[in-house]
């Protein structure tokens, strides 16, 4: 075979592989939009469900998901970033830090339903938070911790070594160096990780199944100790547990969830792009 021909074949194969990756995303989007767009209305987005979820809107589920995501981020981001700072800036490469890193990698591989059971055991039962926004947020927070820590670590490690050397050589303490010459430059990466974690937390069903999600609760939560509806679980319920729900309502709910997650990811991309343009080293 001539080099030209092999080149052509390789190119085609690579292109097809790429296309195959994009295709499912496009098809999923197309189907959901086609079948669900007709359900989207002001009332659908901002009113309570009625008549056993066959009518009305999904407002409590949207709001519940936002609360859960916010709670998860409030818990996981400070904890994760502080842990990452410790791992990158303070700990030397010893057995303990290697163990911690291994634990983080493993944490990322734990199936989400296991997080759900864990949350049920710890937060709902042991700490007596009950099935509540607090329990659900904490469970989701632990689930996204690996994402936050890993991206924060990468962001910190990508800050050039010499920023630290220069800062220390000017008489700054180690913490001042981290605070003034490392963290500010790692912020975009940290934010990106945060938003990716946000998207993941918004979409998961299993971790909230036992810890917070209400089957049918047509009112808004009053405190963090209340149960709430949430989009992913609501979608599961109306798709499999309740007969007689119009197809466009099911797909409409999926569309709202998808739009929420995509919007968050888009925000991450825009943010990363804008910070990258400012980067000057």
């Amino acid at each position: 075979m001539s080099p030209r021909l092999t080149q052509k074949i390789a190119f085609t194969v690579l292109f097809l592989a790429t296309l195959l990756v994009v295709l499912p995303v496009a098809v999923i989007l197309a189907i959901i939009v086609a079948k669900g767009a007709s359900a989207i209305s002001w009332e659908f987005l901002f009113s309570m469900p009625r008549d056993g979820m066959t009518a009305g809107g999904i407002f409590p589920a949207i709001l519940g998901t936002l609360y859960l995501v916010l709670g998860a981020v409030l818990f996981a981001v400070p904890l994760g970033v502080l842990a990452a700072v410790y791992l990158v800036e303070y700990s030397s490469d010893n057995r303990f830090s290697r163990l911690v890193k291994l634990a983080i990698v493993n944490l990322a591989g734990v199936p989400s339903v296991v997080y759900g059971l864990f949350g049920l055991g710890i937060f709902v039962t042991f700490f007596r938070f009950g099935a509540s926004i607090l329990s659900g947020s904490l469970t989701l927070g632990i689930m996204i911790l690996p994402v936050i820590i890993t991206s924060a670590r990468e962001a910190l490690e990508s800050v050039p070594r010499h920023f630290r050397t220069v800062s220390l050589s000017l008489g700054a303490s180690r913490w001042q160096t981290v605070r003034h010459s490392v963290l500010p430059h790692a912020l975009p990466g940290i934010l990106t990780g945060m938003i990716l974690g946000l998207g993941r937390a918004a979409g998961e069903t299993a971790p909230i199944l036992f810890t917070v999600a209400a089957f049918y609760l047509p009112r808004l939560p009053q405190s963090v100790f209340d149960q709430t509806m949430a989009l992913p679980y609501h979608l599961y319920v109306i798709s499999t547990q309740v007969p007689g729900i119009a197809e466009n309502v099911r797909y409409g709910t999926a569309l709202v969830l998808l739009a929420l997650v995509l919007l968050l990811n888009l925000a991450a991309i825009v943010l990363r792009y804008r910070f990258r343009k400012r980067k000057k080293w």
């Binding site: 050397t165 800062s167 050589s169 000017l170 008489g171 080293w281």
Partner: protein
């Protein structure tokens, strides 16, 4: 008399990186207000020596020091906070390394870390240090613009200003002109000659001619040891050791 004027007194200094010996049994004094130059080929231990003087060596993983370094009679490891040591002993690195902030903020960085907030004090330090490093006229109208926009030579003088702002005692230069053109190099060298009136300067260089131009005394390092230390003029005319003579005449290195 000589002993009284010693800025740095180094005795029995050994440095190891893990099992590798980087500096063996170093004994020397650095006098106040001299330019003490260190020459030698790569891996001779000269940068290691420099990094010992402000304890940046502590950052290198698995580095171990033994022996004693005294600054004005005070043991720099036992008797001094590392932050205050580094404020007294500033370093200019081989490459110009401004932080990705404005010219102004680069210069006041060390001062801010000391907790100085008074704008008048900071402004004064910026102007004084930029004048001392002969950069003031070139940048006085754009102090708030990013330091990364300056040319290489300007950046290196900014790095000098950044140290001078903190009123140090000793300036360390680690091959400060290795990335610069001849004109920028000449300006840096002129600046050093003026600065030694006020400060003590330790210059590590792989440019033998530079040592000859600016050094008061010169030490020749080879394979982790100091081979010879003498007045610069003497070293470059009548070196005692054959290896020194070979190095400065370009037979190896």
């Amino acid at each position: 008399m000589v002993a009284a004027a010693a800025k740095f007194a180094i005795s029995g200094l050994h440095v190891h990186y893990g099992k590798i010996c980087a500096l063996r049994d170093l004994n020397l004094d650095i006098r106040a207000h001299e330019i003490f130059t260190v020459i030698g080929p790569a891996n001779s231990g000269k940068s290691t020596f420099l990094n010992c003087l402000n304890r940046l060596i502590d950052l290198a993983p698995a580095s171990r020091l033994s022996g004693e370094i005294r600054l004005d009679g005070v043991d720099i490891r036992a008797g001094l906070e590392v932050e205050s040591l580094r404020r007294k002993v500033g370093i200019v690195f081989a490459l110009p390394l401004p932080l990705p902030i404005s010219i102004y903020e680069n210069i006041v960085y060390g001062l801010r870390m000391q907790g100085i907030r008074d704008a008048a004090v900071l402004d004064e330090a910026v102007e004084r240090s930029l004048r001392e490093s002969y950069l003031w006229d070139e940048v006085k109208d754009r102090l708030r613009s990013p330091a990364m926009n300056l040319s290489g030579g300007q950046q290196q003088r900014l790095c000098m200003a950044r140290i001078l702002a903190g009123r140090p005692d000793v300036l360390l230069f680690d091959e400060p002109t290795s990335g610069l053109d001849p004109i920028s190099t000449a300006r840096i060298e002129e600046t050093m000659l003026v600065l030694k009136e006020k400060y003590t300067i330790v210059l590590v260089t792989n440019n033998v001619a530079q040592a000859a131009r600016v050094g008061d005394r010169t030490a020749f390092f080879l394979m982790s040891e100091m081979v010879e230390l003498s007045e610069t003029s003497r070293m470059f005319t009548t070196p005692v050791d054959q290896r020194t003579s070979d190095y400065i005449t370009g037979k190896f290195g």
